[in-house]
């Protein structure tokens, strides 16, 4: 049996799995599904067509699945497994596009996830980081305090977004980006090492970055890009493909 506080308001139509804990003063709406092992704190609001997978932990005052304007129709929000959603986090959704959060993410206090954004797996988002509507955040991304991702922008896998940075164009995978507008400041070696990348791979990625952003740290060099696209190292190829797909048309300024 789920352990729901008598002071919580849970809609009858909501599908709550066994051993879910819901704290006092929380509100769970009609179309919500909550998977087994979830711990929902007090004063949490979960509305919209929200599906929470197993073993998620939602801390007090978080709001999940709220439409952008209060009168709006409920949208869809799909959250995977083992995510930690800390206090005061807001996850928006709209009926046009579902908001997706993968598995094992840590959204720290005061994060905002815009409507239609997709967060893949294992991300860590520091306090007050903002993920714009329809943005795409790939695996193992780290975002620092006050960092923001613009609407529809993409942050590549293993990238690190420095504090106060505003991602107004796509951030390439493995990179460390900083400032507003963002500049590529180097390779996120710490994260790569922690994620088990070999020394050779890290060296290859580093040298690829040096070729791409030599000096300017902003616009990738086209001749280096075409060469890197034929590189044998899969990580380097992935970087080159991501840069090719995301960067050139947004480099006009």
């Amino acid at each position: 049996m789920p352990e729901i506080s008598p002071l919580a308001i849970v809609a009858k139509a909501a599908k709550i799995a066994g051993d879910v804990r819901i704290g006092p003063f929380s509100y769970v709406g009609d179309h919500v599904e909550i998977g087994a092992g979830c711990i929902i704190g007090n004063n949490v609001t979960i509305t919209g067509k929200t599906v929470l997978g197993e073993n998620n932990q939602v801390f007090p005052m978080a709001v999940i699945g709220t439409p952008i304007n209060a009168a709006g129709e409920p949208g869809t929000c799909v959250i995977g497994e083992a995510n930690t959603i800390r206090e005061h986090v807001t996850v928006y959704c709209s009926r046009d596009k579902e908001t997706c959060i993968g598995n094992d993410n840590l959204l720290m206090i005061g994060c905002v996830v815009g409507a239609g954004a997709t967060i893949k797996n294992h991300g860590i988002f520091d306090n007050c980081s903002h993920i714009g509507p329809s943005a795409l955040i790939e695996d193992y991304v780290r975002m620092s305090g006050f960092a923001a991702v613009g609407s529809g922008r993409k942050v590549g896998a293993y990238a690190f977004v420095t504090g106060y940075a505003s991602v107004d164009r796509d951030a390439p995978p493995y990179s460390r980006v900083q400032g507003s507008p963002i500049r590529v400041r180097g390779v996120n070696t710490t994260n790569l090492k922690r994620c088990g990348f070999g020394d050779d791979d890290i060296r290859a990625i580093k040298s690829a970055f040096r070729d791409l952003y030599n000096g300017s740290s902003n616009a990738p060099r086209p001749e280096a890009l075409s060469r890197l696209l034929k590189e044998s190292n899969p990580y380097v190829r992935r970087l080159a493909e991501a840069v090719q797909a995301g960067f050139p048309e947004r480099q006009s300024e």
Binding site: F25, E87, H88, C128, G145, G163
Partner: protein
Amino acid sequence: MTIVTVTREIAPAARVSPEAQIGPFCVVGPDVTIGPGTVLLRRTCVVGHTAIGSNNVIGEGCVLGSTPQDLKYKGHQTFLLIGHRNRFGRAVTANIGTESGGFVTRIGDGNTFADRAHIAHDCYVDNDTRIGQSVLLAGHIRVHDGAVIEDMVGVQHFVTIGRHARVGSGTPARRDVPPFTSFYSENYDWSGPPAVRGVHEEGIAAANLDADEEKELRRALHELFDDETALQTKIEQLVNMGVEGEVAELCHFVQCSLQGVFGRHRELNRGKVPSEAETYLPPELKVVVRESLR
């Protein structure tokens, strides 16, 4: 005793003073102590091993004593200690300590925290500080007496903010901020590097110094920070001249920062229990900590 008779949840084991006011929709956990005269406004949540002193006002939607956002924290029994006469704005969050960082997050007396400020694990905030809106204090930070941190400042972990120092709004504080100085980015679009850019006049006024002491302090501050090159040599010269009082404090602070990692002295404590933990843990908690370590 005035307790608003609207729904709220207070764990039976919690030690709440009868003179405390707990507002509607508040949640108070079982290991919480709340002193007399403290007011918890609506929707405030106090959990964890949290002790709150007397005459604090805690605004709407605050969450005090929740688990640290540190991946190294593995559910150990750690504490959040809050002194007296503090003012918390809305949605302020403060975490308990971690076992590797000294077991305790401590907030002193008479501090003001504006809306959405965050005090992370193992921070030591001393007395009479002013902390602005959306300020993020990362882990292991020490904020000394009377410091002023303005809105939207992100303070990196292990930073020390000196006595009566000021951090300008929107400045990323990545290194120690010396006492009595004003630290900010030159341009309002944060493009100038954050640095010590002057004397914090309000801080000097608040410190109530003698005319002579004030003159000496101003001279030392100008000498050190008008041009920040060769700080080490300048400090050695000052110390050799035989300084005392605030100037000696300033010299000691800057010297410690220079010895630290990227200008952060407390980073030398990484993975160790800092000396403050011994100072601020009350004796009964020291016993608990020692037992739990066994």
